[in-house]
Structures are given as C-alpha cells and as structure tokens.
Symmetry: C2
Subunit: 359 residues, 2 copies
C-alpha cells in the first residue's frame, strides 16, 4: 500500500482539506499519524518522537521558555461527510466535512507552523495525538504523560480545539455513568410471568427529558452544564421480555465541581436505580488570571469565553501548566452531520499564532 502524504508547502486551507481526507475515526489514526510524522521529519529544526499514533515534535533552541501547542488527530464517526468540499454557506467560504471543526483545521495550523517556524521566539513542543474522542483511558495525551512525562514540560500550553479563533478558558468536566434497570425474562406472549426492564427505563428518560441543568459562574465565566442519555440498549429477541436495559448518561459539569461532586449528584438524581461509573474527567477552571494566559489573550487580541466541552486543557491544568483553547471552527458544529469550518478562521488562527510565536 502506498502511504498517504501531506504537502506542507500548500496553504493552511489546502492542508486542512488534505488532513480531513485522510479518515481517522478514533482507533484508525495510523495512516494520518504516519503522514504527519513524515511531514514533520522534513523539517531539520524538529526532533520528532513517535508514541503509538501520537507524534511529538520539539524545537531545541535553548530559549528561555517552552510552550506546548497540541491537538488531537482523531474524529468521531463519519456521517457520509467525506471527502471535504469547499463551498459557500450563508455567504461564507467554508470547508465542509467530518473533522473540519473538531479539530483538523487546528491540526493543519499546528503542522503548517511546526514545519515553517525554524526560529520561533520560544521553544515549542508540538503534540499531535490519538484517541481523544473516546474514553479517557485511551487518550493519547494521557498516554504520553504516563509514558514520557518529560515531553510535557512547558510553562504554557495552547490546545488548538475549535473556539472560533478566540481564546476559550478552562472547560467543563465530563462524566459517564451506566444506569441499569432490571426485570425478569419471559416469553412475550405471557409477559405477566416476567417483568419488563425496558418499560422501567421510561421513568429515567422522562426525568432526563424534563431536567433543567444549571449554569455556573466560575472565575467570571458562565459554564453551562448538561445531562443527557447518549446510548440506550435493551432486549435480546423480539419475543422475549427483556430483563435488562442500560442507559449511558453523559454529565457535563462546571469546573468548580470535582468528578466526585458530579457523581454524588447523579447518585441522588438516579436514586433507586443501579448506577455504574464508566468514565470521568475533571474540568479546568479558566485560569485567565494567570500571567501566561493573560499574555496570550492580549497577543491574539481575543475576548475570552468559557469552554463547554471537555478538552485536554484539563489535563494540562492537572499537570500544573496554564493552558487555553484557541483554534478555528465553531464548537457548535463539532460532531454535527453538517460539520464545517469558516476558511477565514483557519487563516486568522494561523496568523495569530504565527505573530505570537515570532513577535
């Protein structure tokens, strides 16, 4: 098989298109990781390290400060939305397709700058990582921090997650639980001999349907919470009364709460039902009062906003590294079937970062 390649001489718009068209749904990042690794290795000023399907590329210029600029290379499953097309959308020039927003335009900005900037004003550790869209235990950045913690030393980090080319501070935490109803199996012709576990799920779904989540002010930014069933499954055959239904529920909670607080809330909310914690990740307070973050906001001319989705900003926050989200794309379009990014945001993100790194 011929390896797929990326042309970093192309502009960042064309490079976004190329990166999107190498499909990399979580677990299938290898072809794209190979192409990114090969592109980075063409730049003599970079030390390139591979870990699984993550690639770390470092300048080693002996600068006073080092920053990390990171992004994930995986996407959620396709919705018949590849290859990417460039089109007008509400009068705007956009790239349409899976990954354009979350977050391959950001990855293109990173890759373009990593290869271009041989003499940045700080040392830079560029990180391209796998498995961000799936359970936290698989996250490539987490794996690097366990396997090669020395690669994540820095005084500041930027995550090129979609944030409309503005700084978004912190992020909500996220937690998944499986809520289970139990019944008793029987033939569906004589259901009165059993107990229908699917019918019991009605109470849970109705409760979720009518729930009004909070909005929480943290360090001056308003974090909007949410609580949603994301998966449901029950039943084994069309003529058998099901003895189990599992509802996977995703809770996004403000960064002022710990995962323990969040789980405690769910235990109360689902009182009377079986609850199992599947996965959790703490949020990150916005931290825009930290000097490194404040300086970045100023340099990019941004208005800071809260980040609703969980991002690996929280991981840097745990490692004690101030970090912000800054990247092209409207986060509301992440994971949508009609995912698309405004071309103008790709260009302006690249320019803002380039100016900050070369000023």
């Amino acid at each position: 098989m011929t390896a797929l390649t990326l042309n970093t001489d192309a502009d960042v718009i064309e490079l976004t298109r190329q990166i999107c068209d190498i499909e990399s749904v979580s677990g299938n990042e290898k072809a794209l990781a190979d192409a990114i690794e090969a592109a980075l290795k063409t730049a003599g000023h970079l030390e390139v390290i591979r870990d699984g399907d993550a690639i770390v590329a470092k300048t080693n210029l002996g600068r006073a400060k080092r920053v990390i600029i990171a992004g994930h290379i995986d996407t959620v499953p396709l919705a018949d939305n590849l290859p990417v097309t460039r089109m007008l959308q509400d009068g705007k020039d956009v790239l349409w397709g899976r990954g354009t927003v979350d977050m391959k335009a950001g990855v293109a900005v990173q890759l373009k700058l990593a290869v271009d900037l041989a003499e940045p004003n700080v040392d830079i550790t560029w990180v391209f990582y796998d498995h961000e869209e799936v359970e936290a235990s698989l996250n490539g950045l987490g794996r690097i921090s366990r396997n090669r913690p020395e690669l994540l030393h820095a005084s500041f980090a930027v995550l090129c997650e979609p944030s409309n080319a503005q700084v978004e501070g912190g992020c909500n935490g996220t937690l998944r639980v499986d809520v289970r109803t139990r019944g008793v199996k029987a033939h569906s012709a004589r259901p009165w001999m059993g107990e229908n576990a699917i019918h019991k799920a009605g109470e849970i779904l109705t409760k979720l349907h009518s729930f009004q989540p909070d909005t929480v002010n943290v360090d001056g930014l308003e974090y909007r919470e949410s609580l949603n069933a994301v998966l449901i499954s029950g039943g084994i055959a069309t003529n058998v009364i099901a003895d189990e239904t599992v509802i996977t529920v995703n809770y996004r909670f403000a960064p002022s709460k710990s995962p323990q607080d969040a789980f405690g809330f769910l235990q109360e909310f689902f009182d009377g039902f079986e609850l199992e914690l599947a996965d959790s990740a703490a949020g990150a307070r916005p931290g825009l009062d930290l000097p490194e973050a404040a300086a970045f906001v100023a340099a990019t001319g941004s208005t800071a906003k809260p980040k609703y989705g969980w991002t690996d900003v929280a991981r840097f926050s745990e490692l004690g590294i101030p970090a912000v989200n800054f990247g092209p794309g409207d986060p509301n379009k992440a994971h949508a079937d009609d995912e698309y990014v405004e071309v103008e945001q790709i260009v302006s993100s690249e320019l803002a970062l380039r100016n900050w790194l070369t000023a």
Copy 2:
C-alpha cells in the same frame, strides 16, 4: 466432523435430553435436522422428505384419514442453560435447560412415535421444522406450505407446543412494530444545539408501562392480550446526542381481531410517533366446536384452555385444517432462563398420543 446422532430406542425422556443437547437456536438447526432425518430414515414405514432444515415423514398406509403432527426444532438463544440436567424442582422430577419446554420434549414425543408406530389407525404426516422463533417470513412450516403445499393435506393437525399435556385451543395473533423517535445530532457538551431522540422515548415507555391490556372472550375461551417493548436501541457514541431511537413493540391480540385491527389500534396508541409494521401473524379462533378437535379433546381426556402465545395452529387454521396445541411443558416456562419440563408430562403426552393413534 462426526455427525451428531439420536438414539430412538431410548425412552422419550432420554430422547428429549439428547435433542436438547444438540443446540439449535434459530438459524442453526442443521445439526439437529440432520440427526432427526437420519433417525426417521431408519424406519421403513416412513417416506422422508427434506426441505431446508425441515423434515417431513409420512406413512402411506391408505387410511381413510390423514393427520399432521408437527413441531419446531429451533429454540430462542441460550442463557447458559445447556446441557440439560435432570433434577428435582419443587419436589418434581424435571429436565432443566433451553428447549425442554419450547419445544423439544414435544419433538421427542413426535420422533419416538414416528419411528415406533408402523401401523397407526390413520395416516400420519410428521413435520419437524425450523425458524419458528424468529420473524414469520422465515418460518419453516410456512416455507413448506409455499414450496410443497401437497405435503400439508390432512383433516386434522396437532401441534406439540407446550400446553401442560392438555389441549389448548387457538392462539393469540402477534404483531411487531418499530416505533421511532427523531432528534438532531450534536456534541454532548453542547446538547442545546441538537435534540435528544433518546429522551423522547421516555413518553413511549411510560405509556407502555401503565397500559392495561384487555382479556377477550372468543368462542368461550378467555384470551389475555399484551403489549410490550421487546427491544430498544439509540445513540451512536458516548459524546454525541442521538438523532434516532427505535423501540420494537410486540402486540399479542385476541384471535377475534385481524392483524389489520391490531395495527389500527397501535396507530392510535402511538399517535404522534413514527410507526413501521415489521411483522404480523393472525391468531386462530379455538375451533373446539369442530368435530375433529372435539374428538381429540375427548380421546386425550383434556380440559381445553386458551393458548396465549402465537403458534402455527394459526397457519393450519388459514389452510382450513382444524388444529390444536397439545404437548408437554408449562408454556409459562418457555424462553425463561430457568426453562424446565416435568418428566411426567413428557410421558403422559406420549401415552395420550400413542393411545389416540393406535386405539
């Protein structure tokens, strides 16, 4: 691979055990069909015909009347309940395991008598068929009636479905629909940009949970109806708001109603939701006023009861052949994880049929 074999010299209890231990979940009947075919071919008085995984074995003695005695050889999926064990259950001698009730004890009675009775008082068409536990379109008896209708000519039919070794008349009809809720996909960190299709299913499940089905008197027997969600599934990933949930609902309706009546009722019941008919099969009125059926009730010393589950009695009813259910096993134990049959019922069913066929 060595073919699995059945020993028809063994008594009907041991033969039940052997038949159960050849696993034959719907779609996987071949090994058992092969063994039954081989056993039938040892009997010189039978003409043996194979159609897919169904086997028909006929006596051709020129008797004045011909009866069909039929049963299906498939089961619902296992629940870690094979091989069969013989044990005491509430002080009763039972065979415990998948298929013991539905309906391999009945199949053993058929097979034992088919091989033993070289000179019955009527001509007999023994039918062993596949795919009864799945959608009606796959049903082996239906396939025979389409491919080889001449094989199903008879003046009376007995289906050895579990009925506590008593005659059960007629059967409820059965109908499956898929009820669908729709939403709009979004990232689960920003669910307000989408619309949660799983949450909408709460209303349907709550309605089903509180519904009180009818009991309908048909020709003197009381048919208890039921309406149940049997499968539910929704969601594509743990961080995506689902845009679709599908609930499969099984309606068991009295034989006085047509499938059209039943579907009309569901359209009204699920008003406002998308409804798709997946499968339906008419019930059968008990027909115990017909002379053939009344004579069988008398010969076996039975008290007639209504049959709740759909059985192929309905198919014979459509072909104009009076038919009843008569076989070992408590139908309440069909499809249960602790499925078991009382040994005494296997023995008494065999004896009743043997007496009727040789009197």
